[in-house]
């Protein structure tokens, strides 16, 4: 088992991209990536160079995924807990999975025994971040969440007072997590009632009618009068158009003039 796949994905490189960068045949890289074949030293050096990491980092066993305390324990993880070692701690089995919820320090491995110095360093950093997270006060509700609660309440026909009554406090006093849960609850209620989660019908811009209008004017050989951004005025019989320009035969000079729509304020059909 190596960390090649994790490092490659972290660097957002596809197998083919890495194969090209490291000048290694892709079929070999697939085998290294999936841990089916040990990476020879020569290829390890090439991969380390291509990925801007040390060869040791690639060879190191992958770190377990860091989970947040709020995440539920998935069934396989719970099952793994039964197979935990005799230490009883939140250890990392050889498979690299987190085996049980860490009570205070988050979902982090407590043991990095046998890991490389880089791995231990990364682990320490992750642990300190998790500690900071757990000791920090809960984040307050965001403006977006306040707006969303108001919007969803509007769809359900619940005013601010009713929302506060349901919550037992005004929405602004909720924590970010509480707000998230409450928003989820309101959304489920809306769906259960068969209402739309969108507060208003989305307005789409109408399909282009201008080309049809111009085609009609072209057929009728209409005279159009234009007012441009710089105050210039033009008028003449339309002789062509495309999405960005309208061509006219100038009424005064008989010259063909191409007028850019971007430079126009407005135009109209001249009657008579």
């Amino acid at each position: 088992m190596n960390s090649l796949k994790i490092i490659r994905e972290r660097k957002k490189l596809s197998l083919s991209q890495l194969a090209a960068k490291a000048s290694i045949p892709i079929h070999l890289l697939v085998e290294y990536d999936e841990g089916r074949k040990p990476i020879p030293q020569s290829h390890l050096r090439m991969l380390a160079k291509a990925l801007w990491v040390t060869a040791e980092e690639i060879e190191a066993a992958p770190l377990p995924p860091v989970r947040r305390p709020s995440e539920p324990v998935s069934k396989p993880a719970a099952e793994m807990e039964l197979a935990r070692g005799p230490s009883g701690g939140t250890g990392v089995p050889s498979g690299g999975l987190v085996t049980s919820p860490a009570p205070a320090g988050g979902w982090l491995p407590s043991s990095t025994e046998g890991a490389t110095p880089e791995v231990r360093e990364r682990s320490r950093t992750a642990e300190s971040k998790a500690k900071a997270r757990s000791s920090a006060p809960p984040s307050l509700i965001t403006d977006g969440q306040v707006n969303e609660i108001g919007r969803l309440g509007g769809i359900l026909g619940i005013d601010e007072n009713a929302i506060a009554a349901r919550l037992g406090k005004p929405p602004v006093e909720l924590s970010r997590m509480e707000a998230r849960q409450f928003i989820g609850l309101l959304r489920r209620e809306i769906v259960d009632k068969g209402l739309s989660l969108r507060s208003q019908k989305s307005i789409r811009e109408s399909p282009d009618f201008e080309p049809r209008f111009l085609e009609e004017q072209l057929r009728e050989a209409s005279t159009l009068a234009f007012t441009m951004f710089d105050g210039q005025k033009f008028s003449g019989v339309i002789s062509g158009f495309d999405p960005y320009t309208i061509t006219i035969k100038d009424s005064n000079t008989g010259e063909e003039i191409v007028l850019r729509k971007l430079a126009m304020m407005y135009y109209k059909k001249v009657k008579g």
Binding site: E205, F209, M265, Y266
Partner: protein, 158 residues
């Protein structure tokens, strides 16, 4: 005019400077400029960023903030409502001109406006969307020139 159109106009007025050049000069990423220029919804919430952009283009910050409020989706919604209820609207164009009329149709590029005034009976204008600075509903049609003259005469007599 939306902040999107206004930013494009400012770029054009500054010799067609590219978003990349703006990024190099100000530190505002191309992606942010791209978002401002392409999104139809209200964008540009970050006043510090707008301030940097205003300094770069040599325009007042409140000018950018003003354009931020007249975003494209807002105009689309306004036109759709005006078209459905048939009520007259007033368009304030970027050249200072004001047009009062009823929306006949509106698409991505133009607004077909039937003008409301005695002189301009049955006149329909194809107004380019980018020429519209801002807009408002009109409670009653604009008084005709005769009505305005009569009112002035009445006032002077009083």
């Amino acid at each position: 005019m939306s902040l999107s159109d206004y930013t494009k106009l400012l770029r054009a007025l500054h010799g067609g400077v590219t978003p990349l050049e703006i990024q190099e000069a100000t530190g505002i990423s191309c992606a942010v400029i791209g978002e401002i220029e392409t999104k139809y919804r209200r964008v540009g919430d970050d006043d510090a960023m707008l301030s940097t952009l205003a300094t770069y283009f040599g325009v007042p910050l409140d000018e950018l903030q003003r354009h931020r409020e007249w975003y494209r989706k807002r105009l689309t919604a306004f036109l759709a409502e005006a078209r459905s209820n048939g009520k007259p609207i007033r368009l304030f164009l970027t050249n200072g001109e004001q047009l009062v009329g009823v929306v006949v149709n509106a698409d991505k590029m133009v607004i077909r406006l039937r003008l409301l005034s005695k002189d301009a009976e049955d006149v329909e204008l194809m107004v380019q969307r980018h020429a519209v600075d801002h807009w408002e509903p009109v409670s009653s049609p604009e008084p005709s020139l005769e009505q305005v003259e009569a009112a002035i005469l009445h006032d002077s007599n009083v």
